[in-house]
Point group: C2
Chain length 205, copies 2
Amino acid sequence: MQDTPNRPYHHGDLRRAIIETALEMLRAEANWQFTLREVARRAGVSHAAPYKHFPDKAALLAELAMIGFDRLREALMKAKPEASRSLLEEITPIARAYVAFGTDNPALYRLMFSAEEGRAVGMHLNERALAVFEVVLEMLGSGQAAGNIRKRPIRGQAAAVWSLIHGMTMLAIDGLLVPEKVGSAPLDAALSTLVEGLEIPQPNT
Amino acid sequence: MQDTPNRPYHHGDLRRAIIETALEMLRAEANWQFTLREVARRAGVSHAAPYKHFPDKAALLAELAMIGFDRLREALMKAKPEASRSLLEEITPIARAYVAFGTDNPALYRLMFSAEEGRAVGMHLNERALAVFEVVLEMLGSGQAAGNIRKRPIRGQAAAVWSLIHGMTMLAIDGLLVPEKVGSAPLDAALSTLVEGLEIPQPNT
DNA sequence: ACCTGAACACCGTTCAAGT
DNA sequence: ACCTGAACACCGTTCAAGT
């Protein structure tokens, strides 16, 4: 696919090719044992070539994880509704987009949260992950300002929202939170429980 | 440790020894690349010996994961308070015990939720995992019966509780939900948000 | 400056042979 | 019935050598 018929000795942009090949393979198979050699093989280069562009396997994984976080953040921002009357209307599409990102890209999502090495190396992985947290934070901030949300420490509320959605995504990927096992539409049900804890109680409760 | 000085040719109870050695190693190092050969080495047997007791590496991982779920369930039941006046009083010690289990045994906890193979093999891993879900379910059931909890579909509420606590545990293990980064005492803050969504609104809100 | 091929130290898994 | 040792096909990583 990315190897030209008369591929020259020098690839041209092997770095990008490696990343794209890896992302493709992550998308294709959910339970794939990530292998540097296989990535190189499919990119059409020797297994030693990647080492000219990444210090080691962990560095590539960290890079992929960062891309994953960036994409997740974009997906969340795109899902953000223009205007919304209630918190549930605001939070539901974002939460849906989040879980959908995870279940559509299970291997990548897992990778994003298991790159221990990448995190230890001191790369910008943590910051990228916390950028997702910021999206949640902003949403809650505007909700509090609009008077839709209980006045509580906002970082605590954000921790609750992120934890719940991240946990649900993980359980969904693991096949543990599917309708047959846990009741129908677990996302919506869990979400409304969460929203009831965030929003200011209405008279008709 | 578990290899006697004059160990005979036949180990006696190698199956148990392998499991215990593996658990020990999981406890010792948080970011350990699980290696069948290293387990065998530390158990004092050849690297082929484990294959007489487990069909393959995935089977051993699945077994360890099941043990992990059993221990988690025990820890939760032990943490369950005798009597409790409010939902927060009931749920807080359980949630604390859950997160503590994860942060105390990060490698094992990760393993429990990443044994894709073990789940596919059709072992009883899923059932063991869902037994944890049952603990949450029971707690909410008694809470609803006592009139502490909003009358909502209970499986949805349980999905919210398990997702939030699982997500928080994972984020804590990943070092993403620590006080410095996310505000102080994220567990307590998130928990009170969740509890506000579960319990029937009090007049003094 | 970028890539290859051989080499090294590891894995998981199998299988004939040992006790 | 249970364990070992050699063997096979794989990895990640390094390094001299090629273009």
